[in-house]
Each structure stands twice: as C-alpha cells, then as structure tokens.
C-alpha cells in the first residue's frame, strides 16, 4: 500500500470518530430543517382566530372593517370597552381598537402581531381612499378595470433554437447556495488542515513521520483525507436533510390538515420551480459544483497547509492567513452584486481568477455561462492548484522543521528557493 493511503486513512478515521464530527453531522440537517420549516410554522401560528373589540362610539370605524379568515371585529358597549381598557381580558379579545382624533389606537395586554395591525391599516386605508374617490365623483368600477397586472416570463434562446423558460429566482437560489457551500467548505476544512499541521508541528511528531514519508506526501495525504471528511459530511447532510424533510413534511401536513391558501401557494411555487429545474442543466451544475468544490478546496487547502507549517501556534497565523482569506471573503461579499449582473466584466474576471472562481463561477453557472469561459476557468484553476501545492510543499517541508522562530514574508521567500 502506498504510504499516502496510510496517511489519508489515518486523517480520515481519526476525524470521523471525533465527537465534534458526529455532532456537526447531526446538527447540520436539523438547522437546515429549522430554516425550512420555521416560516411555515410561524405563518401557521398567525392563523389562530382573533377577535378585536371596537366600542360603540367608534361605529364609523367598525363599518370600514371587514372580517377576514382570522380576524373578527366586534362592537361592544362603551362602558365595557372602558372597563376593558383598565382591566384587559385576553381570553375574550385579542385587542381593542379605537379612534382618538386623527389617531387610531390598537391596544392589548401584549405586543400586537404585525400582520394584524397591517391588515387593519390596509383595510382602513382602502376604505378611506374609496370614500375620497367617490366624493371626487370617480367611478370605482372604472378604476378597478384600469388596474393591470403584467407577467413577464423569461426565456433563454439556446443554440438549437428552442426557447426555454428560465426562472431568475431559481438560478439565484442555486447560485447562492452552491457559492455559500463552497465558501463554508473551504473555510472550515482549510482551517482544519492548518490546525492539524500546527498540531503535528507542536507535537514534534512530524520529524518522525517525515523520516518515513516525503513531506509532500504527508501534506497531500492530509489535504485529501480532510477533503474526504468534508465530502462525507456533505453527503450525510444531504441524505439526512432530505430524509428529515420528507418525514417532517408528512407530519406537518397531517397536523394542519386543512391546508391554508399560503401553503397551497408555496407548494405550487415549489412545483413550478421543479418544472424549471428541468430546464436548467442540473448535471452540468452538479459536475461544476463538485469540480469547484474540490478544486477550490485543494488550492486553498494547500495555502492553509503552507501557513500552518510556517507558524508555531495558531495565534501566529494571522498575518499569513489574512492574504489567503481576503479573496475568499471578497468573493463571498460579491455574490449578491454578481447575481444581479452575472455577465458583467467584473463577474467574468472573478470567475476566471483562480482564488475567486470557485465561488463566483458557481454563482454564474445557473444563469448560463459559455463553454469557453467555463473551460478557461477550469484550466486556470487546475493549473493554479498544481502551482499552489508545489509552492506550499516547498514552504511546508522547510517550515515543519523550523521551531521557535518568528517567520516573516522574507523568510518564506527564502524557503521557496532552498533545494530539496
């Protein structure tokens, strides 16, 4: 067995048995689920029926309001209303509504939900507007007829001439999620490589090991071992998340039974999205994701490895880590503007430049990128990670044997020129 496999095996097994790995693997899908279901849960919360009391003297106000699915308006005698204002009974009513001069006051024993007060506001506004229009002698039915709703459906003309429907929102979502995942992956596992190298160095085991294997193999074994851990974690996340998603979806549908209009709307949106998903080249996106995921990680991983080898403790790594992470953070910040303008020259150059391409190209791909651009970007990234591992290996093999010395950039430059 080649020794690099031994190293990969150790790096993999040692991490997969760690408590933190198991906790993260289980916690990830739960968090994802929370993000997915919390909005649904919260909208369900607002669906409970609420009764809002208005006093007799504000009957004018009452006449402007109509009951909705979940808000009922009732009129109560003045005396009861003023009693309630002193001693509120939240068993009976959700809130009290009254008019004082130009102000409308909604009072309750606790904070009134935003959706309720928005509903009241819009109903009153609409009514008052209508009244004003009538006073001005304008026919409301004419106004209603004049209202128009334009739907723009985007189409991309592909090379074979067939028009395909596209969905910008979906492209944005896919681009954003894959860019974000790559960013997290590189950061998490890159620093993991760095920490592990610092540990070997401070443990002083490194000299024993490199008397058996070449430093390059040790470094690559470590980088590859950690990348496999990352892949394992992501695959487990995807499996667990989809499993949990389907299980909890069934559960949610069961307990709510009567599906609210919002839920139906959401489901139809998802269905529609799935339809458009067929029009986007999923295989291309998936392959590109895997490539940029690994390519970006290999390049950054080797740079993190070089930093780890040059320092004695993680605290000293700041000065070298910063230039490594700046392009990474920059591309993360620019995800939003690039999604809005995926064909700008900034987007183009950032998707070619190897330190930013793993994230930026993934953001652009769902919007459609020409083959030659993709090819150039891939070739540049492959070339760069070969180059960066070579440079990192040179720094690494000198750095790991250098103890107790403060290293600066000049020193690193010298190491690059030492002979094997």
């Amino acid at each position: 067995m080649d020794k690099i496999w031994l190293i990969i095996k150790r790096e993999y097994l040692i991490r997969i048995r760690k408590k933190s790995f198991i906790v993260m693997t289980l916690l990830g899908p739960l968090l994802m689920l929370l993000v997915m279901f919390l909005p649904i849960y919260l909208t369900n919360q607002t669906q409970t029926e609420r009764t809002i009391a208005i006093s007799e003297q504000d009957f004018d106000l009452f006449s402007k309001l109509e009951n909705t699915d979940y808000i009922n308006f009732v009129v109560i005698p003045n005396s009861i209303f003023s009693d309630l204002k002193i001693k509120f009974d939240n068993e009976l009513y959700y809130a009290l509504l009254e008019k004082k001069e130009d102000e409308i006051i909604l009072s309750s024993s606790k904070q009134v939900s935003l959706s309720v007060s928005n509903e009241i506001k819009s109903q009153i506004e609409k009514k008052v507007e209508q009244e004003k229009l009538i006073k001005l002698g304008i026919d409301i039915s004419l106004l209603e007829n004049a209202k128009t709703n334009v739907i723009i459906s985007n189409q991309i003309i592909s090379k074979d001439g067939t028009g395909q429907k596209s969905k910008t929102e979906l492209s944005m979502a896919i681009g954003f999620i894959s860019g974000l995942l790559i960013y997290i992956f590189i950061f998490m596992y890159g620093t993991m490589v760095m920490r592990s190298i610092i540990e070997e160095k401070t443990n002083r085991i490194v000299e024993v090991i490199i008397s058996s294997v070449k430093p390059f193999k040790l470094m690559m074994g470590k980088i590859i071992g950690v990348s496999l851990i990352g892949l394992t974690q992501f695959i487990l996340w995807i499996c667990l998340t989809s499993l949990l998603f389907f299980v909890s979806q069934a559960y949610f549908v069961n307990i709510t039974e009567v599906e609210s209009t919002q839920e139906i709307e959401m489901q139809s949106m998802i269905l529609e999205g799935l339809m458009y998903l067929n029009n986007i080249n999923l295989v291309e996106i998936l392959l590109a994701f895997l490539f940029y995921f690994l390519g970006g990680y290999l390049m950054y991983g080797s740079l993190f490895a070089a930093v780890g080898s040059a320092v004695d403790a993680e605290a000293d790594s700041q000065q070298f880590i910063l230039p490594v992470t700046v392009p990474l953070i920059l591309s993360f910040i620019l995800i939003q503007p690039i999604m809005e303008n995926p064909d700008s020259s900034l987007a183009f150059w950032m998707s070619i430049f190897p330190l930013t391409s793993p994230i930026i190209m993934m953001v652009r791909i769902p919007f459609g990128v020409s083959d030659w651009e993709l090819l150039v970007s891939i070739l540049v990234l492959v070339g760069s990670f070969i180059l960066s591992t070579k440079i990192a290996a040179k720094i690494y093999r000198t750095g790991i044997l250098m103890y107790g010395k403060k290293i600066n950039y000049k020193e690193l430059w010298k190491w690059l020129r030492y002979k094997g």
């Binding site: 067995m1 020794k3 031994l6 190293i7 150790r10 040692i14 540990e199 070997e200 443990n203 002083r204 085991i205 000299e207 024993v208 090991i209 490199i210 008397s211 058996s212 294997v213 070449k214 430093p215 093999r397 044997l401 103890y403 010298k414 030492y418 002979k419 094997g420």
Partner: protein
Amino acid sequence: MLLKAKNIVKQYGDFYALNNANVAVPKNSIYGLLGPNGAGKTSLMRIINQITAPDSGEIIFDNEKLQRNHIKDIGYLPEERGLYKKMNVMEQCLYLAQLKDMSYNKAKDRLMFWFDKLNIKNLFNKKVEELSKGMAQKIQFITAIIHEPKLLIFDEPFSGFDPINASVIKNEILELHKNGTTIIFSTHRMESVEEICTHIGLINNSKTILEGKIDDIKTTFYDNSYEIVCEDHEKLKSTFSYKSKKHEKNKHIVSINKDIDYKKFMQDIISKNKIVSFQKKNPTIEGIFIKAVQNG
C-alpha cells in the same frame, strides 16, 4: 562501512549547516556523533534520514547510493520528538510501523514483543495524553526500532528519562548492537559516549574535525599523563622534578616528555615517596572534545 557520507554540503541561504562534512560509520559500530550546539549534527542526521537532501556530496548506504527504499533499513529517534496526543497508543505504533513498510500483522507481533519487554503492556489502549513523559519516550523508542533496521539513529536518546529508565534504554541499545545493528548516537552527555560508543565523529563549524575508533583517538590524544596519589603531598612536591599539570589534595596529574623512560620515571617517584596509586591517565572524551573544538 555501513554508511559513508562524502563531502556533504547543506546551505540555508548564506548559512552553511554542513560544509564538506565526511563521516564513515563501520558496520556494527556504536558511532557517537558529537559536536557543540549548532555544529550541524541534526542537519547531517536529517540528510541520512532523507528528510532533507544535501546540496552536494553523496551518501553511500550498505554499498549503494542512499535512496527512498533504504528508509525501511533506517530507524530514527529525533531530538525533537513526540506523538499524536489524542491517538490511541497501539493504533499510533501500528501506523508508524506501517509507514516504515512493515505489514500490519508483523508490526502487531513485534509491538507485543517490545511492549512486553519494556514492561508497558498496560499502555496499549491508552491515549498518549494520559501517559507520563517517560512512558511516551519509551513508546517513541519502540517506534524507532520496531522495523528492525540495519541502522539506528538516536538523537539525545536519554533526555527525558530518569536514571533507571535511562539505563533500561541504554541496555536495550547495547543489546541491539550485540545483535548486529549499527547505531549512530548523538548526545551531549560525554560519560555515556565513553560508556557505550566504539567510534566517534566530531563535527564543529559544519565540518568533521575528528573521526575514528575511540581507542585510536584516545591513543592519538594521549599526552603521556599519569595520575599519582601519594600520602604526603608536601614531600612529593619537594622531591619532584616533574611539572605537575594539576593537583588537588594528594592527587597529581603529571604529563612527561615522550622521550623520558616511563619505568625510570615510576621508579624515581616510588623510591622517594609513599605512593597510594600510580596509573596511566587516558584522555577523556570530554577533554578530547574541548581540545579538538578549541584547536579546530
């Protein structure tokens, strides 16, 4: 010769770690590699272990040019040594042994044997962070020798051991030597060099300044010194025509000219004084070390 390093040069920037260093380690010797701090010993050991490559010069190992597959024939216990703290002892030893091209099963057998021999069988399933420093050192010793190499390189092997465990390790080294292993051994403890080395090589300022069999070197450095212990110090002094190199209480160390007859010198002293003991004073390795470094 098991190992020959010829004209080794290793440069770091403008600094020469080794500058035409030459070392010849005979088969089945215990070779003490000596030198002041920063002389280049560790650099040389790293080159022999192929951790770094020399800028020029060549290393011949067992009549072949040193290459990657010699790694399994060399065992190394570096001065800067350690273990993975969070890893299980047995797993870690197996990993390190497999990195030296041992098969899993053979490594397991040999580990059982050595853990038993050093009386630390109870440590198998512990994590390294639970061990005392001495215990961890024993495990490092085992991982260095487990693959039964032809050449063992120990850099300060006794540091971190209490006297009892140091002598356990010393005896193991001597036994390995008896069974035919060649040992290169670097230390600053001259008394252990004196005790166990058959050969020494002295490196100073990146060069080998002295090398050979310990007995031969001692003969070369012998300066006709004798140690005389007498009852009456004052009397000896008065009857004494030879210049005393140094004396403390009743002990004198005298160095005589090479052309003076040793027997006549002895009779001369014995006839006039009450002598407790009279012996040839061999140079110590420490003395040779200091002299060679100061002259060279």
